[in-house]
Amino acid sequence: MSDHFPALLLVAPLFGALIVGLAGMRDHRICLPVTLFALVVSLVSALGILLQVAGNGPLDYFVAGWKEPLGVGIQLRADAINSPLLVVIAVVAILAALFTVRPAGDRDTEKTPHFYILFLLLCVGLFGITITGDAFNVFVLIEVTALSSYGLIAIGSAKRCKVSAFHYLVMGTVGASFYLLGVGYLYLKVGSLNMRDIHQILASDPSLVDSRAIRTAFVFILVGIWTKMAFFPLHGWLANAYSYCPSGSACLLAPLVTKVSVYVMVRMMVSVFGLDHLEANVEWGHFVVWLAVIAIVAGSVKALAAREIKKMLCALIVAEVGYMVGGAWLGDPERWGLTGTVYHILADAVMTSCLFLAAGAFAKRLGAVKLEDLSGVFRKMPLTAAGFVVGGLAIIGVPPTCGFFSKFYLIRGGIESGQWVYVVALLGSSLVNAVLFFRLFEIAYFGKHPVESHGHGDDHGEGHEEEAPEVRIEAAPNALIPLLVAAAILVLLGIFNGPVVEFIRSGLIQSAPIVSAAG
């Protein structure tokens, strides 16, 4: 069975969704166990893939056995760039699943099976996008991901969930169409959909890369993916969609969907178009870095202005996407920027997961929506608050959390490529994050109005079970354990950044050999 991990990775959540659909409608109690079991199978497969890639190099899997010639069938390909991401997706999905004991708010419990079906289908889509080696297959799985995330956002009972899901739907559809147009134009010129095949064809004929259709295809693919990842001018849909949706959905969507889109961009740049071709033919690379700088600044400013916890976290996601896109486009000869981007995809997924789990726990227990609602939270929920602090420190970039190291590599890339604006923006944004989170920690630690904040709690209460003002009211174990696990991973990923980064770099060098400084 170990040869078939790439298939098992996707088939497990797919069958999980079907079982929930067939049996879960009658008996809602089986939904969560089935979901967890399916995701654990995926996690095992992802770990298996990671070990195989670490041992034997890139892993190819030809669906239906159509191997020769390349491009006839569909190829799945795991290498050092995407196999760690598969593990992270599985882990974050399990943490989010643990968090969702009553997913769709208190009133709509009858939609529990629908929620878990969409949850699992979203995981199928994310795994599929990450592992596939086929440019069209990416589009199909983007559709699965997108449709299930619209459903997961709109499943909340509030009207604004529906409105923000609709906004997201319009933007998401435009993004997916752009991607599809790009792939169509590419296919017209190269006659293949297999990523490795496209790369070989483009590499064999330099005039092809320079042709108008291929350039247009690249721009359309890029803009489509940018819409999906909420890169700066195209980020309008994100804040409402992720802050108004049910906490359970937010813990899955916010950490993963944007990050997987960033991965698709990296994959397109590295394995389809080829970095050396892009560097030779794309003259507007530094404009993208400028856009990234604007994204970082805009996200940070918006985060400073935000009055609600989740709105603030969403603004930070926009800034983080700016980090990653900028890092990928730095074009430094040693590829430290790109390394930082790939590492930051992993780090940011876990960070966002940690912070959204904490925000979800605060919302569930205290009804905390606004920043002030957190006052005195250290006294009330010390462990939950500790998890939140670790997440905050990681976003700021304090060692030994992984946030520090990803910023370190990104800044190194910025310095080596001479993109000083990017370096300044990155450092500035870290300062802003420090201000933001220390302000929050201050409110949480020295908060003066715990009683008043409780009044708030009753207004917004999603699940107010036992409310005693002076007693410790730690988050329920199903929220606390995932949060602490996420926090622990943040620290572990930081401490073991050396091997992880070395692993990622081995993959980057394989797909895009580093140009020697002389040549």
Partner: protein
């Protein structure tokens, strides 16, 4: 107004960029274009392979079905999953399950007295048409790998036949034949069939969706015929999902998720 100007500007720019690239395209219907023949000096493209080898590999005369259900069957499986996801998302958004709100509209609109007079011609016509549509749909599904057709087309026809029942009679007539629990179940079973054909080869250590491995199970002579029969199998799965989701979307949209009264 301002938004409209910006929007039209964006549309015009996008269109201009797309047209700018069109001048670089190979001629329409050019047999030597990269998509048809492969790039110059490179290996022949996948289309050449399909044209030359599909019948040898799969014993299916309809190339399109073979590409769709076998060579790129993985894509098609997820296209079907997209349909299931759309159906589930619509359920999640629209379906009203709370009892207290149901009571508001508990009294169903009584159409039987007034309706029968006006609908007699429509009703009889549809009663004759629906079985014919359904039989033709089954033919389209069953014959998809030999002639144009297949699971998506046949499924749409089957779904449309139920919608026709709902339009000509009432939604409750249609729901009596295909109720809520059965369309969720059918949609899931459809993909279960497809993914099941994919999963079984794993048990004998063949790759996912490698239908050739099912030769023993399907008692065919040779792996090619196993591929041909499995394509029929997955098409049936696709048809079930498409039919169920088509009708589910109609039923939910036309009744604002209450699944009663309605049109």
């Amino acid at each position: 107004m301002k938004a409209k100007i910006y929007a039209s500007l964006a549309v015009v720019i996008t269109g201009a960029v797309l047209l700018y690239a069109v001048t670089d395209f190979p001629n329409f219907g050019d047999p030597h274009s990269p998509a048809n023949a492969g790039v110059k000096g490179g290996a022949p493209s996948a289309s050449i392979y399909y044209i030359e080898n599909t019948y040898r590999d799969t014993k299916v005369p309809n190339l399109v079905t073979a590409v769709l259900a076998d060579y790129r069957g993985y894509d098609t499986m997820f296209e079907t999953v997209v349909i299931l996801t759309a159906g589930m998302a619509i359920f999640a958004i629209l379906r009203v399950l709370r009892r207290d709100e149901d009571t508001e509209e508990a009294a169903p609109v009584d159409r039987s007295i007034d309706g029968d007079h006006h609908r007699i011609i429509v009703g009889i016509t549809c009663r004759i048409a629906v079985p014919l549509i359904q039989i033709f749909a089954l033919y389209v599904v069953a014959h998809g790998h030999h002639s144009p057709g297949g699971g998506f087309q046949g499924g749409v026809m089957l779904g449309a036949s139920f919608i026709l029942i709902a339009l000509s009679g009432s939604l409750s007539d249609a729901l009596a034949r295909l109720g809520e629990s059965s369309f969720i179940r059918l949609a899931c079973i459809g993909i279960f069939i497809y993914a099941g054909f994919g999963f079984l080869p794993l048990l004998v250590d063949r790759n996912f969706l490698d239908y050739g491995a099912l030769a023993g199970l399907l008692m065919t002579d040779g792996e090619e015929m196993a591929r041909s029969h499995s394509m029929l199998g997955v098409e049936i799965g696709v048809a079930m999902t498409v039919m169920a989701v088509m009708f589910a979307i109609f039923a939910n949209l036309s009744t604002r998720g209450r699944l009663q009264g309605g049109l």
